[in-house]
Symmetry: C2
Subunit: 375 residues, 2 copies
């Protein structure tokens, strides 16, 4: 009798018990990679690999792969892949402390707190390999610094695949400084941080990959970043992200940064945000065009729509130089201002056709450039 039970028990491919909270976090981290809408069914699956030292759960969309490492009590080692969405739907409904997984063939059985489920999976052989990068340049980055720098540029990258290079963020590092740049050709954001990276490298990384990295880093204080030919890898104790790098030369953006300006204005960031948001209500149909008129009195912000009506507001500002008027897409200025953390900002321009330059007051190494609209 005992023998029968034992042999039944052994007659499985995987047998493992996992901490529910950790599993929930991992599945939520994989959610955006497993879209559930891939035409290649295996890409809607997650790979579960039970090894001696714990369980690895991973997903890939061929552009980017993410692997989580979970501790866990592994009785029998093995691998299986199951639809990520079904697995996370089930797991997210559980309330206990642990969940046990057993698999036989392509069927995964789960059990937790009186709830039992089977999920139909596929053979792990079909699952694409997520390559571990080994060579290349390796640096250690502080998570908070990376998140902070990224949030100052990511919004400026392009969504349009017509110029793939602009859908990435340009990372340039030397031993002292790391610079991040993004532009969609209508506006450009640049930020420099003190890296202390001990290596120099440059790479154009898909903004989607970087935002995914930002999300899965969790509370890890630092991470390892490795750049190697056409791939980038980010690694902490519990998660690894591998992604392709965008091929091609990043545009020589330095040449559009104005070296001097005819007019320089300093004003309150929040005032300008409130005013531009309100002004853009009246210019929805006119590509959110707002006009800034700079005089010794400050800045007048105006907008109008033949259909809806018109808007005007006078903002106090400290003005140096000749003044003048210039029109912008309000949304682009707002994106930049919303990434500033200082109470005041500087706005510089040199006439109607020149780009506008916005900087947080008193901060070095931060630049936001917006191309003007014809008014």
């Amino acid at each position: 009798m005992t023998e029968t039970i034992t042999s039944q028990k052994k007659n499985v491919d995987i047998e493992v018990s996992l901490v529910l909270d950790k599993l929930k976090k991992a599945l939520s981290g994989l959610e955006r990679v497993v879209s559930g809408r891939s035409t290649l069914p295996i890409l809607n699956n997650v790979l579960i690999r039970a090894q001696k030292d714990g369980v690895e759960i991973s997903a890939t969309d061929l552009e980017m792969g993410v692997k989580f490492f979970l501790g866990g009590k592994v009785e029998t080692e093995g691998t299986i892949t199951v639809p990520g969405k079904t697995l996370s739907n089930f797991v997210n409904n559980l309330h206990g402390d642990t969940v046990s997984f057993t698999s036989k063939g392509n069927i995964l059985s789960l059990s937790s707190g009186g709830m039992n489920a089977t999920i139909n999976g596929m053979s792990a052989d079909e699952f694409p390999v997520i390559p571990e990068v080994e060579g290349g340049k390796v640096v250690e980055m502080q998570t908070n610094l990376f998140k902070d720098l990224l949030s100052q540029v990511d919004f400026a990258a392009s969504f349009e695949e017509s110029r793939p290079i602009l859908t990435g963020v340009y990372l340039v590092a030397d031993e002292k400084t790391i610079t991040l740049v993004a532009t969609d050709s209508y506006r450009l954001s640049e930020v420099k941080g003190e890296g202390g990276l001990k290596e120099s490298f440059s790479a154009v990384v898909p903004v989607r990959t970087l935002n995914e990295i930002k999300k899965v880093l969790g509370d890890a204080q630092k991470f390892e970043l490795r750049v190697w030919e056409n791939q980038i890898m980010v690694k902490t104790e519990s998660v690894t992200v591998v992604s392709r790098i965008i091929e091609g030369e990043y545009p020589n953006y330095q040449q559009i940064i104005p070296t001097n300006s005819a007019t320089k204005v300093e004003l309150e960031v929040q005032d300008l945000i409130d005013t531009l948001k309100t002004a853009s209500i009246f210019s929805v149909e006119e590509s959110s065009s707002v006009k800034l008129v700079v005089s010794t009195d400050g800045i007048e912000v105006t907008s109008q729509s033949s259909q809806l009506g018109s808007f005007s507001s006078q903002l106090p500002a400290q003005v140096e130089g000749e003044g003048g008027e210039i029109s912008f897409n309000a949304k682009y200025i707002l994106d930049g201002l919303n990434s500033f953390t200082t109470p005041k900002c500087i706005f510089e321009f040199s006439g109607k056709g020149s780009p506008g330059v916005f900087k947080p007051s008193g901060v070095e190494g931060r630049l936001y450039i917006v191309m003007p609209l014809k008014s």
Copy 2:
């Protein structure tokens, strides 16, 4: 000089100053009536009527009209209509205490805290009259009681216009009790409350109107409800809602309420909610079909999908009667259970083909009926 200023000042149709917070609340209350997508342009507008004693702001979609009464300093009386969306977009961006409105012809000028706007309006003559009901039956209702009763039935009304009567909630009042009923023919919810209304009436009111009433009542403790031929009116000090009533006879739903049952089960509401939610993951493609198997041990809940996998869980329950199995759409049961506020509920049925009856344990006058699925 003084004369010129005075005559300029008089040369307007409306001149009024409003408290910003109250205006924001009113515009947010009108938001769902002014869809902004009506093919009749005037219906995308709100009517602003400045009268001696304050300002009335109203909107209608021809089925339902809502009027807010705001205090305010009225200098010049008059009316104008302007697009509701543009007005609320502007007003929601303001931060001051008050906003001043002046109008001349069809142009409304607004000014608040340094921000100035004009909004292109239309003549108030074109705005449909929102009828004030005067005759009919009048009762006074407690807001909290009404909201509570409504939330126990509104979800069961139909969204399909093919049987208009089922898109309404059936209100039946006598001098002592008010009963609310809603059904989409797959499930039915009934609740009775102690009204003390001093009148008897019945009406089928569009669920959309009732939910709108629920939202605009705000913190008014009670309201006046008037039912008159084909209209219903709800009134507080600050808001009036007028709506058509759905014509036709409400189905004789009493006849489908089972008078006795072969099996009666009592169990924890939250346990059943958690289990049904999880079970329905595995029956998405099979109209959320879950099977309940009742035996002396309790209830076993199971579901399966040829594609995804299968689920089972055993719930403890107190069982009276013969037991048996029956299948339901899990979503329908969940809708009902989510409206229960007791820790336990009663579930009754009399075999596979009979409706299931759910009641919160220990509560009189509350009934939720779900039609079974063929399993």
